[in-house]
Amino acid sequence: MSIVKCKDLCKDYGAKKVLKNVNLDLEKGRIIGLLGPNGSGKTTLIKLINDLLVPTSGEVLVDGKKPGVETKKIISYLPERTYLNFNMKVTELISFFKDFYEDFDDKKANKLLKELNINPADKLRTMSKGMKEKVQLVLVMSRKAKLYILDEPIGGVDPATRDYIIKTIMNNFNEDASIIISTHLISDVEKILDDVIFINDGEIMFVKNADELRHEKHASVDEIFREEFKC
């Protein structure tokens, strides 16, 4: 069974059609890059998978189920914004995640925080934007989820941390888990992607195996992206 399946998925915001008849069938156990320019519908698609939006028509299935309590147990989602309460300390956030997600591994979270030099006793409010993003990523990657959905996971951090984060992502998920990463910074994640989805103006252009795509076009995914979406 596929991990994510979209059938004729449409989403409108008023008169604006943000997603137009999206059909997708994503296999388990792959790292998938969701690539497209700003406003192409990446975040909208991700929110539909996470039950934060309701489709205008069509449907989304996660592991064969409609988005709901059961799918939320298996998805670990990193949104493109900070969704944590700034008044909480990192330790409180760890207890929060442990309380609500059965698959949360607090030992792993503490280990990752230590590696990133984050003091668990600190309040989120006292941290920089980049630090908050790191805390959020640590929380999300410390779950043993079946599907990780990372929306712009490396947008706000420096290149050295980007490398660390990508390493963290690679080292912290098990073989049969799947990852969907949406990003503009393709060159940074290119080497870890198994498959790529190109999306533009609410429509899926193609879904391809990254190696095959590179071989076919004799270029890196980054170069192909720049070529496809040339202004």
Partner: protein, 263 residues
């Protein structure tokens, strides 16, 4: 899951409310002190007066701010950025709303307790409470079983009406978030609409009840209306006061379930 949600809702609200509660009780004590000084030295009278005004404002502030924080917690935790986490927790939408409602109700009781404590701190003298308890006992004894029941009924209705106000705000916010922009402004617009519709529905139900029981109005206009007429009036108002919050609740859960629009 309800217990876990309650724990975090309670903590988050306490962070905003506890400082005000402590301050209110502290001001009760401070005002007692300034009164003591004012009785000894007349030039303290002005200061005592100002502290008294501040204390009274704080007493009312406790109730008002408790309500504001209850609504704020709902809005920030469900519709703003924190909503991305709240709505991706593996928890039913009804449980999320229950937790918000229950924690808000608990803080209503805490704020009442705080105001009572602050007042006692301000004016308590030994033996002061006995007459109050005595007159309460006399009231209950004179009123008898039905009187006590009436008192209980009024208290329950006051609690329901507070919950009903909270739920009316929840529903307005849920309706407002369905719009794609200016969600806050739309929440206010929908709030006015929900209030108006509620008034109309109440009036229709009340007039309907009168129409069904025509003798009832004549009976109420008498100097001593019959018990039956009074019971009928209570019955009708109770039904109206219960129907509305139940409708707000059911609609809010439905919207969060089927029409969530976080963008």
């Amino acid at each position: 899951m309800l217990g876990k949600l309650l724990k975090y809702d309670f903590k988050a609200m306490a962070r905003s409310l506890l400082p005000l509660y402590v301050l209110t009780i502290a001001f009760g004590l401070f005002n007692r002190f300034t009164e003591f000084l004012a009785n000894k030295f007349s030039f303290f009278k002005v200061i005592d007066g100002m502290v008294l005004v501040a204390f009274v404002i704080l007493l009312f502030g406790c109730f008002i701010y408790t309500f504001i924080v209850s609504i704020q917690r709902f809005y920030n935790n469900l519709i703003k950025d924190e909503g991305y986490l709240t709505h991706t927790l593996p928890v039913k939408k009804s449980t999320i709303i229950n937790s918000k409602l229950i924690s808000s109700m608990i803080f209503l009781f805490i704020s009442i307790l705080v105001v009572i404590i602050a007042l006692l701190v301000r004016i308590y003298t030994p033996g002061m409470l006995e007459p109050v308890f005595d007159s309460f006992k006399t009231f209950i004894n004179n009123a008898g079983y039905n009187g006590a029941l009436l008192l209980l009924y009024i208290i329950i209705m006051m609690i329901i009406s507070y919950a009903s106000n909270l739920l009316m705000f929840y529903l307005s916010i849920c309706l407002g978030q369905m719009e794609n922009e200016r969600k806050g402004l739309y929440s206010v617009v929908f709030g006015i609409a929900v209030y108006t519709v509620s008034q109309v529905v109440s009036s229709v139900l009340l007039f309907g009840a009168m129409y069904l029981n025509k003798g009832f109005i004549e009976e109420l206009n008498k100097t001593v209306p019959s018990a039956d007429a009074l019971y009928y009036l209570f019955g009708v108002t109770t039904i109206i006061m219960v129907i509305l919050p139940v409708a707000y609740y059911v609609l809010s859960v439905k919207i969060m379930d089927k029409k969530l629009n976080l963008e």
